[in-house]
């Protein structure tokens, strides 16, 4: 309100007419003042920059995601399989390793 009061002083001859005219002149002076105009332009530029930022973030996320999917995911899957096979072999080796001495021990007393 105080800013509009100050603005009203800058436009001469606005306080002399009727009430409706004063209201419309006040709102038009507000909407045409330089500060509001600059504020609108700044807001639209900020919206454009934000939109571009979101768009390029989206593109970067897409490129990173598909690259990760093609390069890294098969590697993880294969390394996991290799590890499982190693564990299986270790288990089987330990199973076979413990069974043979226990079978050889009762044989010599014959």
């Amino acid at each position: 309100m105080s800013s509009s009061q100050g603005r009203r002083g800058s436009l001469p001859g606005t306080s002399r007419d009727g009430e409706g005219g004063v209201l419309s002149r006040v709102t038009s002076s507000i909407s045409q003042s330089p500060v509001v105009y600059r504020g609108k332009r700044a807001a639209s530029e900020a919206a454009t920059v934000t939109k571009k930022l979101l768009w390029s973030t989206g593109r970067a996320a897409w490129i990173a995601g598909t690259t990760f999917l093609v390069l890294v995911v098969p590697l993880i899957i294969e390394m996991d399989r290799e590890q499982q096979m190693n564990e299986l072999e270790l288990q089987q080796a330990s199973l076979l390793g413990t069974s043979s001495p226990s079978m050889a021990a009762p044989a010599p007393p014959k």
């Binding site: 598909t66 098969p74 096979m85 050889a104």
Partner: protein, 321 residues
């Protein structure tokens, strides 16, 4: 008492073999051995100077379905059948390359002998490939490479004569289109080998000379190549462990001011071989060969080009040794 007898007869526990192997060997005299310059090892052939890098960074990516079947009839002779259905890139004058769906069946026969190797392939689109490798003497080898096509003026043939010396190799090439070339590579130290090549193209009256150097140890291979056609290529392969190796490659073309660099990994596991590559042209590629069974391999190939938005995926199977 019976149990004590059985304990005495029980076999002694196995020695800690794993721990002994893990300790470094005491005789590390390899690094202090004096270099014998008269007994240098034979270098790799000139065209295989970048072999490790090419194997890791340039797998045979394809788009579509690929099926290969190899049947061995004999110890030396085998037949192969191969089906391919997919798109291939055809360079078109109007808009770069266009993808054309193609399908072909390829029949091939291989004869492998220690001294003679014959490979022939014939395709349903009218192409014939033939390769002959013959050891004329212990040191001299003749290689013939021919590709015949239906279209006129597209057939190619090349004769190579390779001579393998004690620590050098020399090669002489003769091809159709009046192509003559020669290259020579020599081991300079046990790790470093230097080579050079010259070629002459008769029909276009073009000639060129190139130089190459290769430095390899047990763990790494570094090569550099420069040619008068304006191409400089460097590559480096490091064997990180016995299953993993990493490779990187740099190529600069002076005529077209084109620079490409790529980086890739190569994992050789027991059941599969996985190669991945990342390029400076915005290309990401991966190639997986998975062993499903004895002699049955499953292949997956993926290539994504982010810059041109070109996506190629392929799958296939290879049956037979």
């Amino acid at each position: 008492m019976g149990s004590s007898v059985s304990h005495a007869a029980a076999p002694p526990p196995p020695p800690p073999a794993g721990l002994a192997v893990a300790l470094p060997p005491k005789a590390e005299e390899k690094s202090e051995k004096k270099v014998d310059y008269l007994n240098l090892p034979c270098p790799v052939p000139f065209e295989e100077i970048q072999r490790e890098a090419l194997m890791s960074l340039k797998p045979e990516l394809f788009e579509g379905l690929r099926f290969d079947f190899t049947k061995g009839l004999n110890q030396k002779f085998s037949l192969s059948h191969s089906v391919y259905m997919g798109s291939t890139e055809v360079p078109s004058p109007s808009s770069g390359t266009i993808k054309v769906p193609t399908a072909h069946y390829e029949f091939g026969a291989n004869f492998l002998d220690p001294k003679l190797m014959l490979i022939g392939r014939v395709l349903t689109d009218g192409r014939l490939n033939a390769r002959v490798k013959c050891d004329l003497t212990d040191n001299l080898t003749l290689k013939i490479n021919a590709q015949l096509t239906n279209e006129p003026h597209f057939s190619q043939g090349m004769f190579n004569f390779d001579y393998k010396g004690k620590d050098f190799r020399a090669q002489y090439q003769m091809g159709n289109n009046a192509f003559y070339g020669a290259n020579y590579i020599q081991s300079v130290t046990p790790h470093l080998s230097l080579g050079s090549e010259v070629f002459w193209l008769g029909h276009q009256r073009k000639s060129g000379i190139g130089f190459a150097a290769r430095y390899n140890t047990d763990k790494m291979v570094a090569t550099a190549q420069a040619a008068s056609t304006g191409i400089v290529a460097l590559c480096y392969v490091q064997k990180v462990s016995e299953k993993v190796s990493l490779a990187s490659d740099f190529m600069y073309n002076h005529m077209t001011r084109d620079v490409t660099s790529s980086f890739g990994y190569d994992y050789i596991l027991r059941q599969c071989r996985l190669r991945g590559k990342l390029d400076s042209n915005g290309c990401v590629a991966a190639f997986l060969e998975e062993r499903l069974n004895m002699g049955v391999n499953f292949i997956l190939s993926a290539e994504i080009d982010h810059r041109k938005k070109d996506y190629k995926f392929g799958f296939g199977m290879t049956v037979g040794e």
